[in-house]
Symmetry: C2
Subunit: 290 residues, 2 copies
């Protein structure tokens, strides 16, 4: 047992062989970080694809068994599933095995890890990487190159565990940031979950409009860009909305307050108020896409 050559991992078990899981397995193998990879999942197609591409050495649907011989377990299933699987992983891995995840909401899984007494060997991670396609077929050993990965240690997380997980992501050419799970979830509520909700509601508004057909005929690149996220997976987003409920509600309320301000400015033809909102938007946009 134990780590491989001080920096790598002897046996990495990836739970969920979708885009992120398969990419991580393949990227780690390609860079010599993992001696062996095992994929656990319910989708036989994803597992077979990831194996055929050389990203996984073994595949199974038996989570407990795969865990028995793991040095590193990466939960790469949807957020709610990962949360439910953590106890089983904890119960079936050796005490030296490190556990991490790639979920986009961190509070609940970090809390669950503490509840399970895993604070010493669980460290949550969230790679901000993705693409339009999903599944192992779209997996890419360079998916994390240049991506930001957030690690969410708590006060009992050891410096050594932080260092090992940081090293893992840096070897995949990602940029690593650390913050608390609460800080992560608060920021993500606005940077990711709010745009998702905005895209859904904008598209839903057009869907319900009496002029729907004309709106569709006249939708140009601006509408398409702003609603691109509306094509996203409903299962994933209903889970995220529930798991990050408090922070998302706060972001929804902030948006609503500004929306009401906008309505008032348009209604009263208050050009100064409208320009103030636009100036704030342009300032932020410049910071995000200089």
């Amino acid at each position: 047992m134990g780590e491989h050559s001080g920096k790598g991992w002897r046996h990495c078990v990836v739970v969920g062989a979708g885009l992120l899981g398969a990419s991580l397995a393949g990227a780690g193998k390609a860079r010599g970080l993992f001696v062996r990879t095992t994929g656990v999942g319910r989708s036989a197609a994803n597992l077979a694809t990831a194996r055929a591409r050389g990203f996984l050495d073994d595949t199974t649907s038996d989570l407990a068994r795969a865990c028995a011989d793991a040095d590193l377990v990466v939960l790469a299933t949807p957020v709610r599933t990962a949360l439910e699987q953590l106890a089983e992983v904890a119960a079936n891995t050796p005490a030296s095995c490190v556990i991490t995840d790639v979920g986009s909401v961190k509070g609940p899984i970090v809390a669950e890890a503490r509840r399970l007494g895993l604070a010493g060997r669980f460290l949550g991670a969230h790679p901000l990487a993705g693409k339009a396609e999903s599944g192992a077929g779209a997996a890419d050993v360079d998916l994390f190159r240049g991506a930001t990965v957030v690690l969410t240690p708590c006060h009992v997380t050891s410096a050594r565990l932080r260092e090992r997980i940081r090293m893992l992501w840096e070897r995949l050419d990602a940029r690593v940031l650390e913050m608390s799970a609460a800080e992560h979830d608060e920021a993500l509520a606005t940077s990711s979950h709010l745009p998702q909700m905005v895209a859904y509601i904008l598209a839903a508004a057009a869907d319900g409009a009496p002029a729907r057909e004309r709106i569709v005929a006249l939708a140009a690149s601006g509408f398409r860009d702003t609603t691109r996220l509306a094509a996203s997976d409903p299962d994933m987003w209903t889970d995220i909305a529930q798991l990050n409920r408090a922070a998302l509600l706060s972001a929804i309320d902030d948006f609503a307050a500004l929306w009401a301000k906008l309505r008032k400015a348009v209604d009263e033809e208050d050009e100064a108020a409208l320009r103030e909102l636009i100036a704030a938007a342009r300032r932020l946009r410049k910071a995000v896409a200089p």
Copy 2:
């Protein structure tokens, strides 16, 4: 005077030599639709660029004088400016001269044309074409290829005028739709003006958030796509918000009603209600980007 060879125009005067005006002049010349083009504008740089690129034969800042010998005048200035210039164009063009525009709000200019007694020779147009860059330097003789162009005749517009303007755009390889100015403005409020406001308010919400710095650090492609429009020109959008005020307010209210529904669904963890909103969004998104 009069038209050239039954299909083209002897002298086309383009007012405003920005992206749309310079592209239209160049596209028409490239296809032999215009024997001569004159650009009128306040920006000496745009005029010089469009002339150097061969899109304009002459340039001037004297609108009245340019109009005196025009067969076709195209108002390609910002919507409010075009509205203000229409009377001067009307007063200085021969009675046989056709007048059109390219503005993204149609109600006010169509009403102004009727007030000026121009119903027989004015026909509003809105090409749904653009690019990130602006100005004559970004002009492109193929800008309208495949683009949708909306013509907004009223009940006194002659079939011949509709046919001539339709032909003009079709010769530039655009797809022409006809509807009333009110129908256009109602649909655009949702298909174009609402996404613009959504992008502004989403970016403004992030700008005002206590976690602003972390939000900027964690903003990924979803946030960037959804706020892309927030970089848009404030002058143009304060004008549009005022000129299409009633339809925009209605679209803002429709969005607010669905936003409140979303808030309730998230707050009450009402998964069915959330899924219903998402399903509407995905249905519309599929219609817009199949």
